[in-house]
Symmetry: C2
Subunit: 385 residues, 2 copies
C-alpha cells in the first residue's frame, strides 16, 4: 500500500502532555503515588441531575439518531441559558448541538476554511485549535502574546497582523492553557476589528461560566455575525459525554446542518437528553458549587506556587489551569516536567504543547484535583525545588 | 463578515431524503398516518444487555474522557468478535474505537487523502462517503455500477478506472443504498488489485453481520494493509449511541491516535462501556434475533414489491434497504417519492441522494419498520400504483 500520508499530518503533532501522562501511569503501576495536574479534566463526577435524566431515557431504550442540529428541547434550554447568563436573546434556530466543542470547531472550520486560508491564533493556545485549521488545509498563524496582554489577543494586535491571506481569527477566551481572558472591553473591539477586515470571528468559549471574579463574556453580545464554540465539559463537568454546541449566524445554519448530517449524523442521544438537566435550578446549583470549589483551589494554588518561585504575572480568572513561568528553575520545561514527575510524583504539562513563544520557560498545571491533593503536590514541589 | 464559504461546500449536498422526511413529519402533524421507509435506522430499542451495562456505569457518575483509541476492554472485545465471526486474529492494538462509523471514515480520510487525490467509489453509494473525501479536499470519483455487478465494485472495474491521480478505493459492502455485497470471491480480488496499484483500500463494513444467507465478510481476511470501517449502529442496533470502530494497519495507529486526540478527544464513555455487552452471549442473542427478523421482513418485502411492478434484479443479502428500479412507474423518482407520500403516506428516498447513474429511475426503501407496517405500506402502494 502507498504509505504516503496526507501532507497535513506533518503539521499535526502528538500532545507532549500524553508522554507525561503515560510516564505518570507507568510510575503509578510501579506503586508510586502520583498527583495528576497534567490533564485538563474536572475531577467531579457527572452532576446528579444529569445522571437522573440519563437514567430516565436509558430505561426506555429509545436511544435513536436525533436531528443533526440536536434535539429541540436542548436547543431551547441553551437559548434560555443565554438569557440567564448574558441577558441575550439567541434563537434556538441558531444553536447547533455538537459532539463536544471539538465537533463545533471542526464544523466551523469545514464551513469556512479554504486551502491556504490563514486563521490567526495566539501563541500559546490550545493545540487542537490550530490542528482543526490544518485538517481543513488552512494555515494557523500564531501570534505571540505575553503577560502584558493577559496572554490574549488585542484588537490592535489583530489589526497589525492582518494580511491578504487572513480569513479570520480564532479567539479562545478564557484560554487553555493560561486560564486568562481578554482584557475588559477588548472582546468588543476585537469583534469590531475583525468585522472591519470583513473577516470571520470564531470565538472559542469552552470555559465560559467557569469564571472567578469577572462575569462570563460571549462575543455574541457584540455581534450576531460570529461563530461561538461551547462545551458541556467544563462549567457543566460532562467531559465523557462528549457534548457541546455552536452558535452560528442564521444564514449559515442550513449549510452547517448539511455538514453535520454528513460528518456526524447526530450527537449522542443520551448525552443530549441528559444535558437538558444542566439548565434546571438543580443543575445550575451543582455547577455553581463546583465553580466555587475551583475558585478556592485557584486562590490557594496560585499563591502557593508563587511562594515557591513560579512566576504567575496574571492571575488566572477562569477555567482550571495555571500557566506558570518556570524560568527561575529551567530553560527546558519539558525536561523539567519529566524530572519533577520522577522526583516528586507530581505531573504537569510542558509549554511546548501550546506553541513556541517562550514555551520552554512555561508549564501548564491543572487544579482539577482536590484541594487536599493540591496541598500535597505543593509540599512535594517545595521539597524538590 | 466575509461570506465566502469554503469551496468544498459546493460539493456537499444536503440529503434529499431529509426533504422527504420533513414532508412526512408535516403530514403526520396534520394527522396523517405515515409509514417511514425513508430513514435508515433500525426500529428496535437498544439491546437490554447494553442498557444494563450503561446503567451500571451511569449510577457511578464516572463518565470521563477515555483514551482517544477507546477503552481497552472494548478494544479487546472487538478483537474477540473478529475471532468469533471470521476466525481472524486482529490485535486490539489495531482497533480504534470511534464516535460512529462517521468518525472512523473521517479519521481515515484525514490520514490519507491529500488535495486532489482521487478516491474511487461506486455510483450509487452512501452520500456521506464521498463527502468525507471532499471535506479533506480529495476528489471522489464515482464509477457507475448496475445489477450485473450486484451494484458493487469488481476488481476489473477498479483496474480499468485507475488513473495517475487515484489514491485508493472506498468499497462499501454490504452497500447502502442497495443492500447488496460484492460477488463471492471478488473482495479478495479487489484487495489484491488495489495492492497491485499500491493504492489505499478503505473497506466500509458498517452493515457486516446483518447478512442473510451469506456469511459476513471482511477485507481484513485478505490483508492487514486495509482500513476497515465499522459501526455499532446496524447489526448491534445502537444508532443513538454514536459508536463505531476502525481497524488500521499497525504502522498508522500512532498517527490515527494523534488525529483522534485532536479531532474528537475520545468517543462517548458511556457508549463505550455499554457496547462491551454487545459481545456477551446475551448481546449476540439479541443481535441474532433481530437479524432474523430483518431477514423475514426482507423476504416478504422484496417479493411483495416485485409483484407490484418494482424491479429488484438482485436480491439484497444484507442490511435493511431495497434499491428498487421504478422505471415502470416514472422517470423522475424524486417526484414519484413526493407523490406517493402525498397519496399513500408511505415515505421512501429518491435515488438522487446516492449518485447520478440511473438515479432518477431508482428509489431506496428501508425495511427497518415492523412486518405489520411493511404489509400496510405494501397494500397502500398497491392501491396507488
Amino acid at each position: 500500500m502507498n504509505t504516503a500520508l496526507a501532507a497535513r499530518l506533518q503539521h499535526i503533532a502528538p500532545f507532549h502532555v500524553m508522554e507525561i501522562a503515560t510516564h505518570a501511569r507507568t510510575l503509578q503501576a510501579q506503586g508510586r503515588d502520583v498527583i495528576h495536574m497534567e490533564i485538563g479534566e474536572p475531577d467531579f463526577p457527572s452532576p446528579p441531575p444529569v445522571i437522573e435524566a440519563a437514567q430516565a431515557l436509558l430505561s426506555s431504550g429509545h436511544i435513536y439518531y436525533t436531528s443533526a442540529l440536536g434535539i429541540q428541547a436542548l436547543r431551547e434550554a441553551i437559548s434560555g441559558h443565554y438569557k440567564r447568563f448574558y441577558n441575550l436573546d439567541i434563537s434556538p434556530d441558531r444553536i447547533i448541538v455538537t459532539a463536544g466543542g471539538s465537533a463545533a470547531l471542526l464544523l466551523t472550520c469545514a464551513l469556512l476554511v479554504n486551502r491556504d486560508d490563514e486563521i490567526l491564533l495566539t501563541d500559546p493556545s490550545y493545540p487542537c485549535n490550530r490542528h482543526f485549521v490544518r485538517v481543513m488545509e488552512g494555515v494557523p498563524r500564531m501570534l505571540s502574546v505575553g503577560a502584558s496582554e493577559a496572554y490574549q489577543f488585542t484588537a490592535d494586535l489583530i489589526d497589525r497582523a492582518w494580511s491578504a491571506k487572513t480569513k479570520g481569527v480564532l479567539v479562545a477566551s478564557p484560554s487553555n492553557p493560561t486560564g486568562t481572558s481578554v482584557r475588559e472591553g477588548e472582546l468588543k473591539k476585537i469583534v469590531e476589528c475583525v468585522a472591519a477586515h470583513q473577516g470571520v470571528m470564531i470565538s472559542d468559549e469552552t470555559y465560559a461560566g467557569l469564571n472567578y471574579g469577572r462575569k462570563p463574556e460571549t462575543a455574541l453580545a457584540y455581534s450576531d455575525d460570529v461563530f461561538s464554540i461551547n462545551s458541556f465539559s467544563k462549567y457543566f463537568t460532562m467531559t465523557g459525554w462528549r457534548l457541546g454546541w455552536l452558535v452560528a449566524p442564521s444564514r449559515y445554519v442550513r449549510k452547517l446542518e448539511t455538514l453535520a448530517q454528513n460528518l456526524y449524523i447526530s450527537p449522542a442521544a443520551l448525552s443530549q437528553h441528559a444535558a437538558i438537566a444542566c439548565f434546571s435550578e438543580a443543575g445550575y446549583a451543582v455547577a455553581e458549587a463546583r465553580r466555587k470549589e475551583f475558585e478556592a483551589r485557584r486562590n490557594y494554588f496560585v499563591d502557593a506556587l508563587t511562594k515557591l518561585g513560579f512566576k504567575i504575572p496574571i492571575m488566572p480568572d477562569a477555567g482550571f489551569f495555571v500557566y506558570a513561568d518556570v524560568s527561575a528553575f529551567t530553560r527546558d520545561s519539558e525536561r523539567f516536567c519529566t524530572e519533577i514527575l520522577d522526583r516528586t510524583g507530581v505531573a504537569f504539562a510542558p509549554g511546548i504543547d501550546f506553541g513556541e513563544h517562550r514555551a520552554r520557560e512555561h508549564v501548564r498545571m491543572a487544579y482539577a484535583v482536590s484541594l487536599e491533593k493540591l496541598k500535597d503536590g505543593v509540599s512535594r514541589l517545595a521539597s524538590a525545588l
